[in-house]
Symmetry: C2
Subunit: 365 residues, 2 copies
């Protein structure tokens, strides 16, 4: 096995579990149950129908989803969802949708929604440089919005909501791209959840959407089929040729999560331990490592921080690279350092990073 994969702290596409990579490697030549390369199997085969069935069922089991949710596997990433959500829920609506602008990615969703109908930005972190999330007393949710949209985790800034927002009588729509299946998410309190795969659950090219059937009842009738959730729901995500390979990898990741990790609660405990270790490192560094996010809003997935000078940051990144770590440079929008510790990053890998950080600090001071 290639040791660099274990130390891949990239913000995404991110690392996948080693046992999954080994199964994928085998499947490139032959999927055991199908006798063919995964890249040459028809999406209309019985084998692929079984893949979809099992994957839907695994996601339902992992989140305790009830029958009234569709589990969809789409293309186009979160970006396509930025548009599909308001096309479905806001086009022609009279009451505004409420959006939170808490960072780079929730900001990207705004103009796409504004194209489709009235949008009220309930809170923006722009003034504070997106270093914190809103407190409850800053959020005056209205009773009659079309829906509420927010991102549960901001990958770029390293901010994460540790509570469910909004009012129960307004549909909650949440971009969970970067923390889906990393912690329990109270899925039943949301009307629509979307998550692209390339953080915690698979390779780029497939997006999971969980949507309550009732939410789709008043969707416009004239949407192109591939932008209409109902078309994908009716066909069990086989409306047009789906990304067979990416979907299969997501299936393998859900099996790993169920059988090797033991479910989302166990995963959350491991993720908490990893984050505690790294944030502890920042907090005990006497200001050498400076966490970007306000303490109570810190992300369990993306640990963002700065060093005293840009020169030190560059030296840190170069030495980390030489030591076998990768993907630690902060997002180009904010710079600094970002350690993304998605599900596949193991506690021993995070311990190695913490060790490296301690060592680096010792030598530089």
């Amino acid at each position: 096995m290639n040791p660099r994969n274990r130390l891949n702290f990239s913000g995404g596409p991110g690392a996948l579990p080693e046992s999954v990579l080994l199964q994928v490697q085998e499947a490139i030549i032959e999927v055991p149950e199908a006798g063919l390369s995964i890249l040459g199997i028809s999406h209309r085969s019985d084998w692929f129908a079984a893949v979809i069935t099992e994957l839907e069922s695994n996601i339902r089991a992992l989140l305790g989803l009830t029958k009234d949710y569709h589990v969809l596997l789409l293309q186009g990433g979160a970006t396509q969802q930025f548009s599909m959500v308001p096309m479905t829920l806001l086009r022609g609506a009279s009451s505004a949708a409420e959006y939170l602008h808490t960072g780079y990615w929730s900001g990207k969703a705004l103009p796409e929604a504004q194209r489709e109908g009235p949008v009220r930005v309930l809170w923006s972190g722009e003034d504070n440089g997106f270093t914190r999330l809103p407190d409850d007393d800053e959020l005056a949710f209205s009773e009659d919005s079309s829906y509420l949209h927010y991102a549960s985790n901001e990958t770029v800034e390293g901010l994460q909501f540790h509570r469910v927002l909004g009012k129960d009588n307004v549909p909650r729509v949440c971009d969970m791209s970067s923390d889906f299946l990393s912690i329990p998410c109270a899925a039943e309190r949301f009307s629509l959840i979307y998550a692209h795969a390339q953080k915690n659950i698979g390779p780029a090219g497939v997006t999971v959407v969980l949507v309550r059937d009732a939410l789709l009842q008043h969707a416009p009738e004239d949407l192109p089929g591939f932008l209409d959730y109902r078309c994908h729901a009716k066909t069990h995500s086989n409306y047009n040729t789906p990304p067979v390979f990416s979907i299969y990898v997501v299936l393998l990741v859900t099996r790993w999560l169920m059988n090797e990790i033991g479910g989302v609660e166990n995963m959350a405990r491991i993720n908490q331990d990893k984050a505690t270790l790294l944030y502890g490192m920042l907090d005990s560094s006497d200001g050498f490592y400076r966490g970007r996010a306000r303490e109570q809003d810190r992300s369990l997935m993306n640990v963002t921080f700065n060093l005293p000078t840009p020169e030190l940051e560059n030296r840190f990144l170069a030495k980390a690279q030489a030591a076998g770590f990768s993907g630690l440079a902060g997002h180009r929008a904010v710079g600094g350092i970002r350690a993304s510790i998605y599900n596949a990053l193991t506690l021993p890998a995070v311990e190695m990073l913490a060790g490296f950080m301690a060592d680096f600090q010792r030598r530089e001071i």
Copy 2:
């Protein structure tokens, strides 16, 4: 190597070259130049920028494309193009677009275009059960259409145009999903060509679009970014996270086409030999194997035929399966037998199928 991959005659996703599969298998653990699993490499890395640059350049070289074309790598398959084309070229237009309805797939493009603007169906093969393509004297192209749209190859019916249609002053838009890079296509005579990968050039999940820059000058300004060709052109197909894995596989296939096959002309000769062999088999079978398509419209990619009875067809499929062949069942819309002989199917594999067919006929008569 798994011998069944060599005998995979599936209509798509289809077989890929063995040498490509071996490189992909290695890349799942480690891409040699990047030191990481292909599934965990950032789409913002220098390595991936180089992948895009080389792939664009390979496609340009293989087709002799001039600089005024963009080479784009999108998601959503041909289905998304059925919508993106008329959103870009027909929304708000006063003159109709001309569409040919020559089979299952060109038929799917029609309602999506009609959603966006006026469409004139210039010719439909519906009355003859899509067993032939139009002759020149059946096609009265007008001088002032917004554009002409047709499919160069109908995968389901096994029909292929062996000439370029339309008038030079009307933009030609062509769905080449099932014969792209299998024969020279006179690309410079088209304003827009699209092709999903899963027939000749890669796995499902990525679509190649070649589009003349001039065609995009009057596109609507209010399209969502992911549906706007200009956004993808400006960012070299990195507008939002692209399907890194699928794009990398397409790169490997273009390298194979250039270095192992020796270019599209050589590929076309091999494809012609394969098709000649199978059609010769049909024509010399004394009516046992009955070609579906009119002789002059026969596809080099999808050889479709029937046997004297449905019972014989089922026996044929079962015995073929037992002999190691797969994917030979006709599309669910038309039934019968379909041997798809895309680029990665070798002449020896087609010879084995011809041998099996001769043998089957001998035993059954």
